[in-house]
């Protein structure tokens, strides 16, 4: 522990006392901080080697570090007999392993990967496709690119295993257009894997054939939505599909059963195969197993990506701990945290959430948890009314205007709305225009309510989750920082009255064109 670290803990404590008007009491806070001081550190499963000096994306390096050994073992694995005498093929057994490992999707929704695989229609007679979603576009997220650029063979090994387990003969990696180097590295890695018989016809002499192709996007956030991605891969405009009936597991790519998994999720599949599902499930916390790579950005001293056990590190630790964010910039106070990518609902400094925890007697009891003490996992953040999403934590200190920050986000969503369905198409730009006005001297007192009205008419009414993605920042920013939004509008209105000008006379029409 160096002095810097102590300072950070001090600042953390100071911060808590400054804003600590929660009903949890000082003692509990101290205890939770103390207990977490010893604990939080990275646990590198996926990024084990990625940042080691001399570690490169070529297959030689991967093989030297034990690469593809898991695949070799898995493909030779015999089937498994269950206690009730039922025989499982090696693939079925592995699919079960992925389910029992508790792996949850790392792309955003946090859905059980094994359950997703189990939905695949295996009786249709159609080919089953697997798509790796490498369209990492959620603002604040920069984890998949680490894997793609530094350890592409790990992804390929995870994909081959996943494809083998699901009888997939053809798979795609849909990589965002802004990753040209990633696409180049992946193509090189795929060629290397083909050459070494980890890919292509008759993989490792087992008779299993698989081809993987890289498909580059053209720069649209919506291509990260799995059915939009599928449309794009089919060569069409990336309009997300309606569900029902177009659930990818049944009617996916070319209307065939399709699995879409995130880069990080597919890498985890390799580790589940390597260490076994039970061992994997011991990482993290119950129902939030394994590790995940957190992208930490914003007003912290030490932004970056950190692979941690899910739920073993709190948001406060991610921001303040020496092993992670190393605190805020000097003299700054925490204002807000966007916990799971820009579309997750913002958390306000000082918020306290009532979470259900298992008590001593095994009963679930409500416990007050300050925002900074929220374990960084799927369930806790969901209980706190937001989500861990893509694992992107964006920290905002008191130098930030929430109005300006939201205007920036709203502009992003207005630009990225595909425009297929009405509420998102019209609402996203409407909100962006309102916020542009509010941040350019045209605000009104009623704008806070105005923005909420628009956002409420978007969420839950769209074809895909983009509706929520666009609405949630607005709903949460405005609700939690209501006074700030209202003050900005009132100030503008007052200034206009003084100047004697009309409502929007100083505004230029707002357009991206």
């Amino acid at each position: 522990m160096d002095s810097n670290h102590d300072k950070q803990i001090q600042s953390l404590l100071c911060y808590r006392y400054t804003i600590g008007q929660c009903g949890t009491g000082e003692k509990i806070e101290r205890k939770s901080i103390e207990s977490s001081i010893a604990m939080p550190q990275e646990l590198k499963l996926i990024l084990k080697h990625a940042d080691e000096p001399g570690y490169g994306p070529d297959i030689g390096c991967y093989l030297k570090h034990g690469g593809y050994e898991t695949l070799k073992k898995a493909l030779k694995a015999p089937g498994r007999e269950l206690p009730d005498g039922k025989k499982l093929s090696a693939q079925e057994a592995f699919r079960g392993d992925v389910r029992t490992s508790g792996l949850r999707g790392r792309g955003g929704a946090g859905f059980s990967a094994g359950l997703k695989w189990s939905f695949v229609d295996r009786s249709s007679g159609k080919p089953i496709y697997l798509i790796c979603n490498a369209d990492e576009s959620e603002p604040g997220t920069f984890k998949d690119r680490q894997i793609l650029h530094k350890d592409p063979h790990q992804l390929i090994e995870g994909m081959v295993l996943s494809c083998w387990a699901n009888d997939v003969k053809l798979a795609y990696i849909y990589i965002r257009g802004e990753f040209p180097e990633g696409a180049r590295l992946l193509n090189r890695a795929l060629a290397e894997a083909r050459e070494k018989e980890f890919l292509g016809k008759n993989i490792l002499g087992t008779g299993y054939d698989l081809e993987i192709w890289v498909h580059r996007g053209a720069g649209a956030y919506i291509c990260g939505e799995e059915t939009g991605l599928i449309e794009s891969l089919e060569g069409k405009r990336a309009y997300p599909r309606i569900k029902p009936p177009y659930f990818p597991a049944v009617l996916g790519l070319y209307l065939c059963p399709t699995i879409v998994n995130n880069v990080e999720t597919l890498c985890h599949v390799k580790h589940i195969a390597a260490m076994g599902p039970a061992e994997f499930a011991r990482l993290g916390t119950p129902n939030n197993t394994g590790t995940r790579i957190v992208s930490l950005s914003g007003d912290v001293q030490h932004p970056g990506y950190f692979e941690v056990e899910v739920g073993k590190v709190t948001i406060g630790e991610l921001i303040f701990h020496e092993n992670f964010g190393r605190g805020l910039k000097p003299g700054r106070q925490l204002k807000a945290v966007i916990p799971g990518g820009s579309s997750s609902k913002v958390l306000k400094a000082g918020e306290v959430f009532s979470l259900k925890r298992k008590g001593a007697d095994g009963q679930m009891i409500p416990v007050d948890v300050p925002m900074l003490d929220l374990p960084y996992d799927f369930d806790s953040l969901q209980s706190a009314g937001t989500m861990s999403g893509s694992g992107a934590v964006i920290v905002m200190d008191d130098s930030r205007s929430m109005v300006d920050a939201l205007a920036n986000l709203a502009e992003f969503y207005a630009h990225e709305s595909c425009g297929q369905c009405t509420p998102c198409r019209e609402g996203a730009l409407w909100m962006a225009k309102g916020l542009h006005r509010l941040t350019h001297g045209g605000g009104r007192k009623e704008d806070a309510a105005y923005l909420t009205h628009i956002a409420q008419n978007i969420q839950g009414r769209t074809i895909c989750a983009f509706g929520e993605a666009a609405a949630w920042p607005v709903l949460s920013f405005v609700e939690k920082f209501w006074e700030e939004f209202q003050a900005r509008g009132e100030a503008d209105a007052a200034a206009r009255t003084e100047a004697g000008s009309g409502a929007n006379s100083n505004l230029k029409p707002y357009s991206y064109a």
């Binding site: 649209a220 990225e416 009405t422 730009l429 409407w430 969420q459």
Partner: protein, 571 residues
């Protein structure tokens, strides 16, 4: 007890149909488990279909019975509920009063907020309750309409769609009077020349993609798409391409707003002034069902009318625009006797006398296969009186595999079934020409054809004792006529045609014929009445009902019982 509406088809032998019971606005409705989708394939019945069977029409823009479902407009969002199931027993949980407990749909992340389902794409499930009028449903509709209108130009006063615009209609039925919108509207291309017959106003477009789906999935011409993103999305033809397929105007019909307009109809007439008449297209043997829009005896447009057995909801552009000749200034308006203007009574009296002199075998009749079945029937009766040879003129072109038939006569089958021709249509014409040449045929009746173009030249016509011609527009044949009897376009009379597949369909009168022109069946009735012994009824219904008694293929038909979509007859 709630009223029960069943949706079982009223056919004579109903096949056993698996049904699902749901509630629509509190009313129990039993509906088939599956219903035809846009291609006619059975699919799980949707909430929208179930509500419709329960008598509740759910507002929608993008949904169209005949197009793939995309669910993009969100206008049909409706709050719903499903029975709560006991997870262990898989049986419904009951309320205290024994009714099934219903869980209203809510947002998973905000259980206090109702969640709507798009009824166009959501299948029903047993016990589902559809709340098509609940406050939450109404609020969702209001919100969607508000979104659709914020960037809409609201230029209804100069919009061709005004009066038949779903934005207007739903705004009245489901909208709110005000909007909070205070921003600058999005501006998009206006008067976009999409193709030879279509003009697009992108600002009016609500991006429902009906036009895109129609041209891709129905017309088989993937000509349209969307460019740009989000609110700036615009419908466009592919760069360098014109939207010019022969079905392009259908997109104007299915466009729920004033975005796609017909260059032919644009700015010509307010639609609320148009009288709508159920009629048939006469441009080929398909017999597409149409609605004629007319005002004060001027036809302004043809639009397709639904008929699953014939044209679905569509028609081709060439047929649709083939109406201008009806109003041509050189239409035949006057009855003529040997070049002099006459009256119907005088001309028919003289003609009747002339025909009475004609010996058996000296008369021939060439009747166009575009005359009505009733007219052809009367002509055949007349022919029988004189033992006259009869025939029609074949008229063919390339079939397009969709609606345009190779047979370009609209009543070839009617002419065959009435006995005007048999074997090969047109085969008698050279023999009739030869008959005239040899002097055997002294009297020729020509209805609706210019025979000088089909081997009976002007010098042959000049050698006839009596040439009776009925037509609509002047031709070399009408100029040679001794008796010129001006007739009517289909839009100016009633009657039936039998299409190439043997569907007998009736059409009604939209506009008055010019001058003295009369429906041919009327004066043919007079002629036949005078020329044969038995009485011919003086109404079209009477002619039709008599015809069906004499022609076996029409047996059992009755004018009053032929619905708007016609009846199948054996060919």
């Amino acid at each position: 007890m709630p009223a029960i509406a069943t949706a079982a088809p009223a056919t004579s032998v109903p096949p056993p149909v698996e049904t699902v019971t749901v509630k629509v606005n509190g009313r129990t409705v039993v509906v088939p488990k599956t219903m035809p989708d846009w291609q006619g394939k059975p699919q799980l019945t949707t909430m929208l279909q179930a509500a419709r069977l329960g008598g509740v029409e759910i507002p929608h823009y993008c949904y169209h019975d005949k197009l793939p479902v995309v669910g993009n407009c969100r206008m049909c969002l409706v709050e719903f509920g499903t029975p709560v199931m006991n997870s262990a027993t898989r049986k419904p949980v009951l309320n205290e009063d024994g009714t099934p407990k219903i869980a209203r749909s809510v947002l998973p992340y905000e259980p206090g907020t109702p969640r709507g389902a798009i009824t166009c794409a959501t299948p029903i499930s047993p016990g589902m309750e559809i709340y098509a009028d609940s406050p939450a449903t109404k609020q969702m509709r209001e919100a969607v309409l508000e979104f659709l209108l914020i960037n809409h130009p609201l230029d209804c006063p100069i919009c061709d769609q005004a009066g038949e615009c779903k934005l207007q209609e739903y705004s009245v039925q489901h909208g709110q009077a005000t909007s909070e919108f205070v921003e600058t509207k999005v501006h998009k291309p206006k008067a976009v020349d999409l193709g030879p017959r279509i003009m697009l106003d992108d600002e009016r477009c609500i991006l429902c993609t009906r036009c895109i789906r129609f041209t891709k999935d129905i017309a088989g011409d993937d000509a349209l798409g969307i460019v740009n993103r989000g609110s700036y999305n615009s419908v466009a033809a592919y760069p360098g391409r014109k939207f010019d397929n022969n079905y392009s105007l259908n997109t104007v019909d299915i466009c729920p707003v004033g975005a796609l307009t017909s260059k032919d109809f644009r700015f010509k007439m307010r639609v609320w002034f148009l009288k709508e008449t159920r009629s048939l297209c006469t441009s080929c043997g398909t017999g597409c069902n149409i609605v004629i829009g007319s005002r004060e005896d001027t036809i302004h447009r043809f639009e397709p009318r639904d008929n699953a057995a014939v044209n679905s909801s569509w028609m081709c552009d060439s047929g649709r625009l083939n109406y201008k000749w009806i109003g041509r200034p050189d239409r035949l308006r006057d009855v003529g006797v040997r070049g002099e203007r006459s009256t119907w009574s005088a001309a028919l009296r003289e003609l009747h006398a002339a025909l009475a002199q004609a010996p058996m075998g000296s008369v021939a009749i060439i009747a166009g296969a575009r005359q009505t079945t009733e007219e052809l029937y009367l002509l055949k009766r007349l022919a029988e009186r004189f033992g006259a040879a009869t025939d029609s003129v074949p008229r063919t072109g390339a079939a397009d595999g969709f609606l345009v038939a190779a047979d370009r006569n609209c009543n070839t089958q009617g002419a065959r079934l009435t006995g005007i021709w048999s074997g090969t249509m047109g085969a008698q014409i050279p023999r009739i020409a030869e008959g005239i040449r040899t002097g055997k045929v002294r009297t020729l009746l020509v209805f609706g054809e210019d025979v000088t173009r089909y081997g009976i030249g002007e010098e042959l016509l000049a050698s006839l004792e009596t040439l009776v011609v009925s037509d609509i527009l002047p031709s070399a044949t009408t100029r040679a006529a001794h008796y010129l009897l001006p007739g009517c376009a289909a839009a100016e009379k009633r009657g039936t045609f039998v299409n190439v597949k043997g569907r007998l369909q009736k059409f009604l009168k939209a506009v008055e014929a010019p001058g003295d022109a009369r429906p041919e069946w009327e004066f043919l009735s007079d002629l036949v009445e005078g020329g044969v012994s038995r009485k011919v009824p003086a109404t079209l219904e009477g002619v039709f009902n008599q015809m069906v008694r004499e022609i076996p293929a029409f047996s059992g038909l009755e004018w009053a019982r032929i619905g708007d979509t016609g009846a199948a007859v054996p060919l």
